[in-house]
């Protein structure tokens, strides 16, 4: 199998990047905040950065092995690299860009990526989406054994981004080779990737499917990165088999997870409901306070109450006539909480 296997370490500015990953013919996303070492991982695979120790192999090809003294030059690796902002050659036409490193015929690729009509255009004349397609076509023209994508959507405006995310997702599904992409946006990763690794301070915190990470975040960093509210507190066994968490900011939260000592409570915004009165449902946890921020995004409204973000439909926000500074109740079930280890990262949000 043409699997990409990495196991390497190298010192970066303020921490050490240590990584061991194996991926088959799948799309694998490295997610993490800026400065977590994500791009460096791609540069190591491409041969643009030399690790201090370790081994990188693609199928039977050993690309790097510190013990054997192997370090294949970038131009001799079967690696397709789509750079952040695509790095198209500005002095060449689209066709010249795509054929620059091509092994096979480029005409077919231009057709496949719907850029044949732009063959004579220069990168400066292209839209963001067209540039992305040229960047992908150029990388694939080399018939690589692995495709690397560095923040493939970050150069785009929000409107184009949503459309291209789907387009890219379909395209990656068609490819029959390992794809390693990095992004700081968990949502992008969730749409594009089969598996995700959360990276912070040069270490992988958790590997799994996007839904694994949401359902059971390994620690507070992963929880926060996947979009959860994270509240610090001290846990102790409570009544009815539940765990009682005394929050550092005051108040008590009940959870079905078991834990003792310093923990963080993770709860996703879509599990937090907002009401004017104490709701008559099964929710055990209530936080009462003024709305500190209210943001409507399409058909959803994000409401912040004392550091806790809840997501309700825009319609119900309207029906409740929510305004900033209104005192409301944010409620969530004990079953909707996850107790996770406290984050030990400097690179978190």
């Amino acid at each position: 199998m043409d699997a990409l296997e990495l196991d390497f370490g190298l010192p970066l500015r303020s921490f050490r990047l240590e990584l061991a990953l194996a991926l088959g013919r799948e799309t694998f996303a490295l997610v993490g905040p800026s400065g977590a070492g994500k791009t460096t991982v791609l540069r190591v695979v491409a041969g643009l950065v030399k690790p201090e120790r370790g081994r990188v192999s693609l199928g039977d090809d050993v690309l790097f092995d510190s013990a054997l003294g192997i370090d294949v030059a970038p131009e001799d690796r079967r690696v397709g690299f789509v750079f952040q902002d695509y790095a198209l050659f500005p002095h060449m036409t689209v066709e010249q860009n795509v054929s620059y490193g091509a092994r096979g015929r480029t005409a077919e690729l231009l057709e496949r990526f719907r850029i044949a009509h732009l063959a004579r255009a220069r990168p400066g004349e292209l839209s963001g989406g067209e540039r992305q397609r040229v960047g992908l076509a150029r990388a694939l023209a080399r018939e690589p054994g692995v495709l690397l994508l560095d923040e493939p959507l970050s150069a785009l405006d929000p409107h184009t981004r949503a459309a291209l995310r789907l387009e890219l997702s379909e395209l990656l599904d068609e490819l029959d080779l390992p794809v390693l992409l990095v992004t700081h946006d968990f949502h992008d990763a969730a749409v594009l990737a089969d598996r995700v690794a959360a990276l912070a301070d040069g270490k992988v915190r958790q590997v799994g499917t996007p839904s694994d990470l949401i359902a059971a975040p390994a620690d507070a960093f992963v929880a926060s990165f996947t979009g959860a509210n994270v509240l610090a507190g001290v846990a102790r066994p409570g009544a009815g088999g539940l765990t009682e968490v005394e929050l550092d900011g005051g108040g008590v939260v009940y959870s079905v997870d078991e834990a003792v000592g310093d923990v963080e409570v993770a709860v996703y915004p879509w599990d937090v409901s907002i009401s004017r009165e104490l709701p008559r449902d099964s929710a055990l946890n209530h936080v009462r306070g003024p709305i500190t921020s209210l943001v409507v995004l399409g058909n959803r409204a994000r409401v912040q109450v004392r550091g806790l973000v809840g997501e309700v439909t825009a319609a119900s926000a309207e029906r409740l006539a929510l305004r900033e500074d209104d005192v409301v109740m944010a409620s969530f079930k004990a079953a909707a909480t996850r107790l996770v280890e406290q984050a030990q990262t400097t690179a978190g949000r």
Binding site: G35, G47, A87, F89, P90, H91, Y100, G101, P123, R142
Partner: protein
Amino acid sequence: MRRRRLFDVAIAGATAVALTFLLLPLVAIFLRVPLGELVSQLGSGVAVDALVVTLETNAIAQALILLVGTPTAYFIATRRFRGRALAITLVELPLVLPPAVAGLALLAAFGRLGLLGSTFDVLGVTVSTGTKTAVILAVAYVASPFYIRGAIASFESLDQPLLDASRTLGAGPARTFGRIALPLAAKGLGAAAALSFARGIGEFGATIMFAGSLQGVTQTLSLAIYAQFDLDFDVALSLGALLVVVCAAILFTVKLLPAWTRSSSTSVYPFAPSGSS
């Protein structure tokens, strides 16, 4: 209100004085002798000889500067090595060195009795005072830093991801240099070469110290002006006028080059440091 007006008048006045001071001598060259006279003086033997010597030596010197300076600049711009800052400083040293000292230093190194003088003789190259080779060396010595410095800046301003992309697309370092770095830096290199050319054309101090002033052999335009200064002032003036025109043309070329770069550039990539996340 009145004070502000006074200030405006003061700075405008200073500007007028400065511009007049800088332009007046140049205009005077052309006003002193009728234009027809200026042109006809250029036909004199001294003038033609000086023009030929200047063009010949500068053409060779600039070719050498481009040939050796371009890879040097690329190396310094794209590699990180111990002593890099020192290398850049050494390149810049001839810029601040008095030309007379440069001439003296060249004499000490390449003159017949100098450090390498005998070595050059063995190679069949006669360098010593009174040869064109000496003029070429003097010009290359004082002018090359202008080119190398500008070329380093052009190569440094290239987007590193473009060079990286070329490598990942199967191009080795040499092909990346030829097909990506060189074309993208070409306009900056052109501007740097024009400055170096201007410096070389006007070279005086190092040449007169090292190569001497022999008509038809080492006497360049600048040296001829100095020689004719006492003999025939009109010839000196016409040679001066010629140099003013040539230098002005070079300056305009340099000013126009970056404008072309901006208008025809299709690069949309913001600067991205190679060490990002």
